[in-house]
Amino acid sequence: MAKPRTQLPKSKTGIQGLDEITGGGLPKGRPTLICGGAGCGKTLLAMEFLVRGATQFNEPGVFMAFEENAKDLTKNVASLGFDLKDLIARKKIVLDFVYVGDREIETSGEFDLEGLFIRLGHAIDSIGAKRVVLDTIEALFSRLPNQRILRAELHRLFRWLKEKGVTAIITGERGEDTLTRQGLEEYISDCVIVLDHRVSDQVSSRRLRVVKYRGSTHGTNEYPFLIDEDGISVLPVTSLGLEQAASTQRIPTGVARLDAMLGGAGYYRGSSILISGTAGTGKTSLAAHFAEAACRRGERALFFAFEESPNQIMRNMRSIGIDLQPWVQKGLLQFQATRPTFAGLEMHLTKMHKAINAFKPQVVIVDPLNSFVIGSNEIEVKSMLMRLVDFLKMQQITGLFTSLTTSGGALEQSEVAISSLIDTWLLLRTIEIGGERNRGLYILKSRGMAHSNQIREFLLTDHGVELRDVYVGASGVLTGSARLAQEAQEQAGKLTRLQETERRQLELERKRKALEAQVVALRAEFEAQETETLSIIGQEQVRGAQLVQERVDMGLSRKADAAVRPNKQKRSSK
């Protein structure tokens, strides 16, 4: 078998997400049972199936309503943007309201439901319908007696629908222990979809589950779905595998120093980033930086705010020098602010999906994640976030989430326990030293890049976030004014040392000068002595000469023969 296995022919519903779950739609030419409690969206799903069939797939359809009349039905679905009147006028849809009566009909003897068959057959033939909805056929049971005949006739009806080759949706109200009150699931065994509308912690959420799909694989989970102005959208996210492409492109964080800490280039595109920290540590500010940086690059950023209004965020960010307003006006930045309690998790998720699909951002910010945790729904929150992270990764959208951790708890345990989904995790914490609180930032992990292991002090200045080295000394990590004091102390020490050196140099100079002065003095003294000595010597010599002369003179005057031996006389005189 070289060819892929032949799948059951399917009929696309056109409903967002449902075709993915069912692997291509409802079984073509067969009836499908859709059941659920009151108000769970059965009629709407069936109607959307018909309208989409008529408008998108050129398959006209017949809607046989047993509960609502045509006028009400038209009005109800008009709010979802379905123009039934127009479709009916264009012979794309036939709406047949079957009024069974408000009390039990009198019976006399045997009967069958041939009238219903004829009506339906006539409607199908009149527009060449390919799709049929019977909503809710069980209404027959409360009005018509003789259940035995009804059951046999319904069985015949479903067979007949198959023979007609129409793709049919039969809706049924949920019973006590059974999927439907009248056990319709016994007759319609090809495909059964259960809708559910439940309220937990005062928040309602709608879910859809494909209970059975004969001859086809299908997602078996409960999928949340949403009814809004565009109809139904189902969220088939948990079926995703881990097949996302991993980009090697890096995008700046908006804080230069943080880029440096993250291997010098910032986050990976399409990665998921968690910023966790206690209250007031600047999570939103970092997120705003990132959003602004994205807008500066000309990318679109979508900011889901669950605690503050867009105006409040913009005002607060302006105070630290980040002006987001221009980007909002340019259409590069979009805020989606809702209260977490406004809707169920699924509703939020679906709304986020829709917003992302509509805005097509490159960057998505969720601030904060854990405001969704109400009561004990952590597991649900985690699964929701997993789906969101998966979804973002599939689209190569960089997701930045903030998470508020409670002080006192383990900082590294993010409240919603999604750490395993996160690629880059920044931890903001307050450091209490010297009677003050200061902010510290460090990178808990960052997959696929060499990153700094240093704690940085984190300052919120009027020109944005600034990261500073913290002082690590004998007394531990110093931040804030303790760091400033330490820095001042160091500065003073440095100055003292400098002055000391200078003093020593001066001293040396002085000594040298003193020495030189001494040398000069000594020399002067020596010179003085020398001069004196020389003059004495001179005088002596002069006197000696004088003595000789005097002797000669004396000899002359005595007329002695001194002129013969003058040396003798000289020697004796000594």
Binding site: D96, V98, Y99, V100, G101, I105, E106, T107, S108, G109, E110, F111, D112, L113, E114, G115, L116, I118, R119, G121, H122, L140, L144
Partner: protein, 113 residues
């Protein structure tokens, strides 16, 4: 379609339809095709009318196989269905009319217990 001329006759022995005794009954019978079943129900109806509404009834037979578009007008689901168009209010009886007592109750010809 079968029509009998209207003429006043003696009151109904059971005395159920006190003020309606002079009303003309317009009855419409919906069937699907000329089947033995259709014949049976028509015969049953005819018999009852002759016995209890002699001379003041009209029976219209609608074959939905020939005129399927007529099914929605009277909200027909079951076959056969007998619709009492007149006197008002409209009443419906489904089944082959083999149980005469139920038919009389359905047509309001006897007081309901």
């Amino acid at each position: 379609m079968k029509t009998n001329p209207t003429k006043p006759v003696t009151p109904v022995p059971e005395g159920g339809a006190r003020e309606k005794k002079l009303d003309t009954y317009v009855l419409r019978l919906y069937v699907a095709g000329q089947t033995p079943k259709s014949m049976t129900v028509f015969d049953n109806l005819k018999k009852i009318c002759e016995e209890y509404l002699e001379g003041r009834y009209q029976i219209q037979v609608v074959d939905l196989l020939k005129n399927p578009q007529l099914a929605s007008g009277d909200q027909i689901l079951a076959i056969p269905t007998l619709v009492r168009k007149l006197p008002l209010p409209i009443r419906k009886i489904i089944g082959d009319l083999s149980n005469t007592e139920r038919v009389l109750i359905g047509l309001d010809l006897v007081p309901q217990k």
